[in-house]
C-alpha cells in the first residue's frame, strides 16, 4: 500500500499535474464567482482539455475545477448578494450583510475561504479513510449487486429532479436509451444505428454533456441578459485573513458543518445546496440565544456553516462514486464519465486494479482544496474582479469554447452537430422542468445496469429470482424502490411530521 501511495504522491506532485491542478482550481474559482456559470458547466467546459493527458492527470484538473467552483460561488454571494452557484445560495444570508451593512467584505471573504478550505480538506481526509473500507466490503459484489447498485444510482434521478420528478424519469429513460445506441456489448448486434457509421460506436457522452450543461446554460444566460444593464461594482477588500477571535468563535461550527457536509455528500442525489442550508440551520439551532438573533445580519458562524457545509460535500460525494460507481451529485456524475473515458472504471475493483490512480485522486482532492485556500487568501482581490466581466464578453467566449471542446474530443463535426442539438434541446428542457443531470445519469449508468442485468440472468440460467435471493442486492433494490417512490410518500411523511410538531 505504501509503495502505491508514494507512487501516487509522485504522480500528484509532478510538474504537469501540479500545473493543471493550479489552472483547474483557478479556473474553477473564476467560473464559480461568475453568476450564471455553474459547477457542472465549469467541469463540462474544461473537460475537453483533459483529453490531451493520460490517466488521472486531467481528472485532477477537473477535481480542481470542482472544488474551486464550489468555493468561487461564495465570492459573488458575498459581494453581490447573487450566488455564483446554487451551493452558495445560503452564504448570501450572512455574507452579504457582513460585506455591505457591516462594511467588512474582506472579513466575510476570509471566513468563507477558511471554512471552504477546512471543509474541503476535512472531506478529503474522510474520503481517504472511509473509501478503502467501503471498497473492501464491495469487493464481494457480483453481477446482481452491480445491477442493483446501478439501478440505485439511476433511482437518484428523483432527487436530482428538482422541478418535476416525472420529467426527471423521462429524462433518465432518454439517457438510458441513448446509452443503448450502437453495438450491443453482450450480443454484438447493432441497435438503432440505421446504417450510420457514426452511430455504430454509440453517441458520444461528451457532446451531450457539453450541450446540456454548457451550451444550453449559456443560451439561458443570453435570455436573462436581454435588457439587463451592466453596473460595475467597486469593492475595496481589506484584511482577508481571519482574526484569532473569529477562528475561535467559529471553529466548532466549522467542524460540525464539515461533518454534516461530508455525510450529506455521501448520500447520492444530494449536493452542496442542500448541505449548506442544513448546516446553516444547524448552526442557528446550536447557537447561543444571544447569537441566534445575529443570524441573517452578518453572523460569522452563518458564513462558515454554509461554506464548510458545501465544500465538504466534494469528498463525501466521491466516496460512493469511487467505491461503488454511483455519483453523489451532478458534478460527480460528470467526473464519473470523465474517469470512464480515461479507462478508469470506478467501483470496488478500482481499489484493487488501479490503486495508484485511486491514491492520486485522493491526494489530488486534498491538494485542490489546499490550493483553493491559498488562492483564496492571496488572490481574492483578483478573483473578485470577475464579477465585473460583462456578459457580452463572457458569452461569446464560452460559446466558442463549447465548439472547440466538442470538436477536440473526436475531431468529428458530427459531435459538434450533436452538441448543438442537445444544447437547443437542453434550453427548452430547462424551461419545462426537466433535469439535465438525470439524462447524464441515464447515459453513464445505463450500460452498467444493462450488462449486469443480462449477466445476472446468465448466472441464474434465466431466473430473475437471483435478484431476490442475494441479501445485498435485495437491500439495494429496496432502497432504489424507496428512492423512486419517494415523491409519492414524502409529502405524506412531511404532513405527518408537521402535525406532530404542531
Amino acid at each position: 500500500m505504501w509503495a502505491n501511495i508514494v507512487t501516487a504522491l509522485g504522480d500528484a506532485i509532478s510538474p504537469i499535474t501540479l500545473l493543471l491542478l493550479l489552472a483547474g482550481t483557478g479556473a474553477g474559482i473564476l467560473i464559480g464567482a461568475m453568476p450564471g456559470l455553474s459547477v457542472n458547466m465549469g467541469i463540462a467546459l474544461l473537460y475537453p482539455l483533459t483529453f490531451a493527458f493520460d490517466g488521472v492527470t486531467g481528472i485532477i484538473m477537473l477535481i480542481g475545477v470542482y472544488c474551486g467552483a464550489i468555493y468561487g460561488g461564495s465570492i459573488s454571494a458575498i459581494l453581490l448578494n447573487t450566488p455564483g452557484t446554487p451551493a452558495s445560495a445560503a452564504t448570501t444570508l450572512d455574507g452579504y450583510p457582513m460585506a455591505n451593512k457591516m462594511g467588512q467584505p474582506g472579513r466575510a471573504l476570509g471566513l468563507s475561504t477558511m471554512a471552504s478550505t477546512f471543509g474541503g480538506v476535512f472531506s478529503a481526509i474522510c474520503l481517504m479513510i472511509f473509501a478503502p473500507q467501503l471498497a473492501k466490503v464491495a469487493l464481494t459484489f457480483s453481477k446482481p449487486e452491480y445491477f442493483a447498485l446501478a439501478l440505485f444510482g439511476i433511482s437518484i434521478i428523483t432527487s436530482v429532479s428538482s422541478g418535476s420528478v416525472l420529467k426527471g424519469v423521462m429524462g433518465g429513460a432518454i439517457g438510458l436509451f441513448i446509452g443503448t445506441i450502437g453495438i450491443d456489448a453482450m450480443t454484438g448486434s447493432m441497435r438503432f444505428v440505421f446504417g450510420s457509421t457514426y452511430l455504430m460506436g454509440g453517441i458520444s457522452f461528451i457532446p451531450i454533456l457539453i450541450g446540456l450543461f454548457a451550451f444550453s446554460q449559456v443560451l439561458s444566460s443570453v435570455e436573462s441578459s436581454y435588457g439587463e444593464k451592466f453596473e460595475k461594482k467597486n469593492v475595496k477588500i481589506k484584511k482577508v485573513l481571519p482574526s484569532l477571535a473569529d477562528i475561535k468563535r467559529v471553529f466548532v461550527t466549522m467542524l460540525r458543518s464539515s461533518v454534516i457536509g461530508t455525510f450529506i455528500g455521501c448520500i447520492p442525489g444530494t449536493g452542496g445546496d442542500i448541505s449548506s442550508f442544513i448546516c446553516y440551520d444547524q448552526a442557528k439551532k446550536w447557537a447561543k440565544a444571544e447569537d441566534k438573533e445575529k443570524f441573517g445580519n452578518g453572523e460569522p458562524k452563518g458564513i462558515v456553516a454554509c461554506e464548510a457545509g458545501n465544500n465538504s460535500v466534494s469528498g463525501g460525494a466521491m466516496i460512493p462514486m469511487l467505491t461503488l460507481g454511483i455519483p453523489g451529485d451532478g458534478a460527480t456524475a460528470i467526473l464519473l464519465g470523465a474517469l470512464m473515458v480515461q479507462g478508469i472504471a470506478p467501483g470496488p475493483l478500482l481499489f484493487t486494479n488501479q490503486p495508484v490512480q485511486v491514491y492520486t485522486i485522493f491526494i489530488g482532492l486534498l491538494l485542490a482544496n489546499l490550493v483553493m485556500g491559498l488562492f483564496g487568501f492571496s488572490l481574492i482581490r483578483v478573483f473578485s474582479k470577475v464579477i465585473n466581466v460583462p456578459k457580452e464578453i463572457l458569452i461569446p467566449i464560452i460559446f466558442v469554447m463549447t465548439f472547440v471542446g466538442t470538436y477536440s474530443y473526436n475531431h468529428s463535426m458530427m459531435d459538434v452537430y450533436v452538441m448543438v442539438f442537445f444544447g437547443f434541446l437542453g434550453y427548452f428542457m430547462n424551461k419545462t422542468q426537466f433535469s439535465m443531470s438525470s439524462i447524464i445519469l441515464g447515459i453513464i449508468l445505463g450500460a452498467t445496469a444493462e450488462q449486469n442485468f443480462s449477466g445476472s440472468l446468465i448466472m441464474s440460467s434465466g431466473s430473475p429470482i437471483i435478484f431476490l435471493t442475494r441479501p445485498i442486492c435485495l437491500i439495494f433494490l429496496l432502497i432504489s424502490l424507496l428512492s423512486l417512490l419517494s415523491p409519492l410518500y414524502s409529502p405524506v411523511l412531511k404532513r405527518i411530521f408537521k402535525k406532530k410538531e404542531a
Partner: protein, 156 residues
C-alpha cells in the same frame, strides 16, 4: 408566455411518439429472455421505450386532472429575451455550416462579433479585442500546448 399545460401536452405527445418508435425498433431487435439466460438485444431499450410511453401517459393524466394548476404555471417562450435566443440559435445553425467551410479560426472571426452585436455591444474596438484575444487563446491552448487539431478551411 405559454402555459405549462400546453407544454405538458406537447411533451406527452413527443415522449409517447419517441417511446413507441423505440418500442417498434426494439421489437424488431427481439425482446425477451434467452433460453440460456441473458436478454435479447431489444429488451433493455424496449423497457426504456415502454417507460417513456408510460410516463407520457401519466404526465397527460396529471395535466388533465390539474388543469388549473398547470394553466397558471407560465413558461417564458415568447418574450423578447426568448426571441433573442431563437435568433442566436439561427446564428449557430449557420455557424455550423460556416465552420465546415471556413474552419474554426476564420468562422470564429465572424461568430464572436455577431454574438456580441446581438447582445447589444456596439463598441467595435471591444469587439476586435475580444475576438482577437479569444482566437489567440484558443490557438495557444489547443493548437500549440495541447496539439489538438481544430477544424480547418476546406481549401487546406
Amino acid at each position: 408566455m405559454i402555459s405549462m399545460k400546453k407544454c405538458n401536452y406537447v411533451i406527452s405527445a413527443v415522449a409517447a411518439i419517441l417511446g413507441a418508435t423505440i418500442l417498434f425498433f426494439a421489437f424488431r431487435l427481439g425482446i425477451g429472455f434467452k433460453a440460456k439466460g441473458g436478454i435479447e438485444s431489444g429488451t433493455w431499450p424496449g423497457i426504456m421505450g415502454g417507460l417513456l410511453v408510460f410516463t407520457a401517459i401519466i404526465l397527460l393524466i396529471m395535466t388533465l386532472s390539474n388543469k388549473q394548476k398547470y394553466e397558471e404555471m407560465q413558461v417564458a417562450l415568447k418574450l423578447p429575451g426568448n426571441k433573442l435566443v431563437y435568433v442566436m440559435m439561427g446564428v449557430f445553425v449557420a455557424y455550423c455550416a460556416l465552420l465546415t467551410v471556413l474552419g474554426l479560426y476564420l468562422s470564429a472571426l465572424v461568430l464572436i462579433p455577431a454574438i456580441m452585436f446581438l447582445l447589444g455591444e456596439r463598441n467595435k474596438k471591444k469587439m476586435v479585442i475580444v475576438t482577437a484575444c479569444t482566437i489567440v487563446a484558443v490557438y495557444v491552448i489547443f493548437s500549440l500546448v495541447l496539439g489538438t487539431k481544430l477544424p480547418q478551411p476546406i481549401w487546406m
